[in-house]
């Protein structure tokens, strides 16, 4: 019984974080049709900027996190302008450029920070007990922040003018242009938001897992998997998918720890074979 409660609680906590890591990727994929392979690098940069600000500059962790978010919110649209927009009619080049950016960022991080893992102190230290299960405060804060970000994003997309414009853009580009939506501004906005969300995810992931130059691969694969499972460009889909994958991993870690890596892979294989458009997606191409 204890084990079941543990799974329920831990699964929830880690899934929320996975959702945060994925949602920025979903947006860019949905709106711009761009497979941003540099998304993991965004998460990585967010984490490393926070580490640097808190160790080299000695700033408080919250301030360091803010710096990370601002940094990525500026860097992401810059990358869009330099590497994506000029080639918007050549999707293969864009995809390859983001892949190269991802490996370049990894190498830069190795040179700047070394191959060792780094960590950040928890935003909120300590733990408490819920139904006999020990829970770290930091995890709860991270999960709530993640959920708040996602809900905030969802409200933005559905309630505000700009948000609806972005949504329209992802559905039908020509029609959106005819309706007077400034595509350029909306694209920039999407990248800004995606960068900021990736940075937040990076900060929290660093407090949980530590960060190392190759740590960007984890959020990229998770984001990719969640997008596929949840469906192209669907934010509610990403949420559902994040929880499915997060719980699958937690369940496996609880009872068959060696096989943890398999669980999400198997889910992916099944989805790709039987329902490639994902849970809430429109079509598989």
């Amino acid at each position: 019984m204890d084990a079941i409660i543990e799974v329920l609680v831990y699964g929830f906590l880690i899934s929320s974080l996975y959702a945060l890591a994925a949602v920025g990727f979903t947006m860019i994929f949905g709106v711009a049709g761009v497979l941003n392979l540099a998304h993991g690098a965004f998460v990585l940069i967010g984490g490393y900027v926070a580490v640097w600000a808190s160790t080299a500059l000695g700033w408080h962790i919250v301030l360091a996190a803010l710096v990370a978010v601002v940094a990525m919110a500026l860097l992401a649209p810059l990358i869009y302008l330099l590497c994506v927009r000029p080639f918007s009619d050549k999707p293969v080049i864009v995809f390859l450029a983001t892949l190269l950016l991802a490996v370049i960022v990894e190498q830069v991080m190795i040179l700047m920070f070394g191959e060792k893992s780094r960590t950040l102190s928890a935003l909120v230290p300590g733990y408490f007990y819920l139904f006999g299960v020990q829970i770290l405060w930091d995890r709860v804060v991270a999960s709530l922040a993640a959920l708040a970000s996602i809900v905030g994003l969802w409200l933005y997309i559905t309630r505000t003018r700009n948000g609806k414009a972005i949504s329209a853009l992802s559905m039908e580009r020509l029609g959106a242009a005819l309706a007077g939506i400034n595509e350029f501004q909306m694209q920039l906005l999407v990248w800004v938001v995606s960068g900021a969300l990736a940075a937040i995810a990076g900060v929290f992931l660093t407090t949980f897992l530590g960060i190392s130059p190759f740590a960007g691969r984890i959020p990229l694969v998770i984001a990719f998997s969640i997008v596929v499972l949840g469906g192209l460009g669907s934010i509610p889909g990403s949420l559902w998918a994040a929880y499915i994958i997060g719980y699958a991993e937690t369940i496996t870690t609880q009872w068959i720890p060696e096989a943890r890596g398999f669980s999400s892979l198997l889910i992916l294989l099944l989805i790709l074979t039987f329902r490639p458009q994902g849970l809430f997606g429109r079509e598989a191409s």
């Binding site: 994929f29 497979l35 080639f87 009619d89 050549k90 999707p91 293969v92 080049i93 995809f95 390859l96 450029a97 892949l99 190269l100 950016l101 490996v103 370049i104 190498q107 830069v108 190795i110 040179l111 691969r217 694969v221 990719f224 998997s225 596929v228 060696e258 096989a259 890596g261 398999f262 892979l265 198997l266 992916l268 294989l269 790709l272 074979t273 490639p276 598989a284 191409s285």
Partner: protein, 336 residues
């Protein structure tokens, strides 16, 4: 992402200049053999083997547009099958034939793996297909680690395989023969009717289907051929290293390499990835004085080539060579 927008090469397809470039490559390798020092030969040996990885990727991803992110899957499957076969066959089959058998069996196994992967993958497009290949590579790697085939080794490795010996120029000549033979066969395939069908599928699968082509069958064929070549190369690599391990065969960097090398030289041309592989490995190895900075330098060069020579450096070279030829023969220039 259904069509390769890396530039039209239609004008190149009429005249089979690939054979000329292959011949040049053969000449260059022979000159290296004659004049090069051993260090250069070892670098080129590595490049020859990795070039086979890249050309195997190209016949699938460059020609049919099904972009594989996890090509290490075939290389790893080939490597492990060859290791297991070598160990099983050692008492029964004498040496040179043992390696040949193991390479062929590895290729067959990887081709089978490719078909199994292709069956569900055929209905997928773009990023979904790519993710499927990535997942396949990740699953295969984990399976191998869990099996722990040899307990005294490093993680998941099998060592002590029969190998080619370590005389640099001898191994170099084997690898050179291997890469040239494979490249020639793939160029022939690419220029055949099958190759044209692959490209038709890449340009527009709907149009190809409308023209009566069984696109699923050809996509599966592409996976099988690509898998066979990559698997055979994985086996060759295993016999070169004398071992097979997730760290050497399922390395994510190999999957990335296939893509980057093909981009450097020019996707969808077979000889483009061949040329790109040499550029990649030569930079990676000759920049050793830079220490750990060499990988960064390499990727920056790749990014530069991607932006300024998006068709790949060899394709650009071929176009210029054509134009030069036409000018020299005072012909009217064809449209590029």
């Amino acid at each position: 992402m259904s069509s390769l927008a890396a530039g039209s090469k239609k004008h190149l397809t009429r005249f089979p200049d690939e054979y000329i470039w292959l011949a040049l490559c053969a000449v260059a390798l022979m000159l290296a053999y004659a004049w090069g020092d051993f260090n250069l030969l070892t670098i080129l040996t590595m490049a020859n083997i990795w070039a086979v990885f890249a050309v195997s990727w190209d016949i699938l991803s460059g020609y049919t547009g099904q972009i594989s992110f996890g090509h290490a899957f075939f290389i790893g499957v080939g490597g492990y099958v060859s290791a297991l076969c070598s160990i099983a066959l050692t008492p029964h089959v004498p040496m040179p034939w043992l390696v040949v058998a193991s390479i062929l069996l590895a290729g067959a196994a990887a081709a089978l793996g490719g078909v199994l992967l292709a069956l569900p993958a055929v209905r997928l497009h773009g990023p979904y297909l790519s993710l499927m290949t990535l997942v396949a590579a990740a699953v295969a790697e984990r399976v191998v680690r869990i099996l722990k085939l040899q307990s005294t080794g490093a993680e998941g490795a099998i060592t002590g395989l029969p190998n080619f010996g370590f005389v640099p120029n001898q191994v170099f000549s084997y690898s050179a023969a291997f890469v040239l033979a494979i490249s020639l066969l793939l160029v022939i395939l690419a220029r055949s009717r099958i190759g044209k069908i692959f490209q038709a599928i890449r340009e527009s699968e709907q149009a190809a289907a409308a023209a009566g082509i069984n696109t699923a069958k050809y996509k599966i064929l592409a996976f099988a051929v690509s898998g066979f070549v990559a698997g055979a190369a994985g086996a060759f690599y295993a016999h070169y290293l004398g071992s097979v391990a997730p760290a050497s065969h399922f390395l994510l960097d190999i999957s990335v390499f296939c893509i980057v090398a093909s981009v450097l030289g020019g996707m969808g041309t077979i000889i483009g990835p061949l040329a790109g592989s040499y550029l990649y490995i030569l930079i990676q190895e000759n920049f050793r004085p830079l220490g750990s900075w060499r990988f960064l330098a390499l990727f920056l060069v790749a990014l530069g080539v991607l932006f300024f020579l998006p068709r790949g450096y060899l394709t650009e070279l071929r176009v210029r060579a054509f134009q030069l030829l036409q000018w020299a023969l005072c012909k009217k220039p064809r449209s590029t």
